[in-house]
Amino acid sequence: MRNILRLTLTLAAVSIFSAVILAVVNSWTEPIIAERQLQDYLESVRLYFPDVADFEEKELEGNLFDLVYDDSGNLIGVIGKNLEYSGYGGPVVYTLAVDQSAAIVGYNIVSHSETPGLGDIITKPEFHDRFVGKTLEELDTVDTVSGATVSTSAIIGAIRGMTEAIAKAFLDYEEEVIDITQVPDGTYRGEGTGLKPMAVEVTVEAGRIVKIEVVEQDETPTYFVLSYPLIADRIIETQSLDVDTATGATFSATGIVNCVKDALTKALEQGGGEESEDDE
């Protein structure tokens, strides 16, 4: 009995001794740590937005975003933190900075498992700089890198999608809605990028899309068959470009949608069927 008591008391004494030391050190270092972390974070934000004065954290679909404000309280950009997409070798975690006009300021790969020497080009400045200053629309023109096609097209797609989400949620960005009924009859050619550059011809009759034909593509065959003609049929069926692109071949599917969008936009800009060609 006495022995048990002794053991208990010893353990208790050691624990109390430990707790006291830890409490003292913690109360000393805690404010220093908190201050330092805030400074570190502001420092990293300053890399993207030199005018940062304050930020506000927002959550959207499970991701955390910081809305960045300048001295006079104007929104100057958005930073997405610890965003994730799946690359060639597995999940890639990255930070994305977008300014108030939905143009890319920069991104930073936090962790990745792409092939060293090939896919890890996504961490290199020469690839990163392809994005800088690109607006949402211009992101389609970022080229993939041959030899690392999957890794690079994955990050292009991820950044494009995320930028669109940020723009819609925080930047009052309004997507141009194409009014198909305004498009004159004719066949229009449009270009865009799936896994590789591709082109379509869209035939419009009486304000309705009646035919979508992919005329140029270099997609991986097994993926391409998943998206075409399925996506074309969906667009024709709904007469809308806002179709579900989840087909198992999202890149090819998105590519087709973007091509059609491009074709119709050009058609509206030119205001007529001058570009039209005969179908056969």
């Binding site: 010893t10 353990l11 624990s15 430990s18 270092t29 330092r36 570190d40």
Partner: protein, 211 residues
């Protein structure tokens, strides 16, 4: 005369920790942090010194308390004492050396289960007087630091082509255009480098007839 011989014992405790009982190359203890953090010299040094500080403190405290800690609960008591010092070191690093803290990451809390520290507590500090435990801690701690220094210097110079990267004294040993042998900065290279150094130590010790 007596102080003289005492001094000798203490010096022997230190030199034994560095050479004959070198924790990495002779006892082959604490391999997990040894392999994991030695990519850059500054990380290796930071890890070695952090471990040394924890080791010295825990050795002294355990030795001082050795008469009061009953045998049956000595392991939990040692662990609590070691964990306390590790947490203190962790908080201090986080506050004053955040870069090093970020680089060492989870291996700082893992010092708690570093077998060098518990091993010394059990084999030495729990039986010997305070002063000798202090010098044993210094010796073994320095031995660990020196080992990590050698290993991380080798790995950094070959694997990254730099020396003391991330510090004010960073140099590119072979010039900027050198294409480093990246395998040495990866986990597989840690094993290769450690294996080669262990072999080298054995050869040297055999030549010098130290057993």
């Amino acid at each position: 005369m007596k102080t003289m011989s005492n001094m000798n014992i203490y010096l022997q405790d230190i030199s034994r920790g560095i050479v004959r009982d070198n924790p990495t190359f002779r006892l082959v203890l604490g391999m997990c942090p040894t392999l994991a953090v030695t990519v850059y010299l500054i990380n290796g040094l930071g890890m070695g010194l952090s471990t040394a500080v924890v080791l010295i403190c825990s050795n002294v405290v355990i030795s001082a308390l050795r008469r009061y800690i009953p045998d049956q609960v000595r392991i939990p008591c040692y662990i609590v004492i070691i964990a306390t010092f590790v947490t203190v070191v962790e908080m201090l690093l986080k506050a004053f050396q955040p870069k090093l803290y970020a680089a060492l990451g989870v291996f700082i809390p893992l010092i708690v289960v570093n077998c060098i520290i518990l091993g010394r507590a059990e084999a030495f500090a729990g039986k010997k007087p305070v002063l000798r435990s202090l010098f044993d801690g210094i010796g073994i701690g320095l031995g660990f630091t020196v080992s990590l220094f050698i290993l991380s210097a080798l790995r950094e110079v070959i694997g990254s082509g730099t020396f003391l990267a991330d510090t004010a004294y960073a140099v590119h040993v072979f010039g900027e255009s050198f294409e480093p042998m990246a395998v040495f900065s990866q986990p597989a290279g840690a094993f290769i480098a450690l294996g080669l150094l262990l072999g080298l130590t054995n050869v040297i010790f055999k030549k010098l007839k130290i057993d």
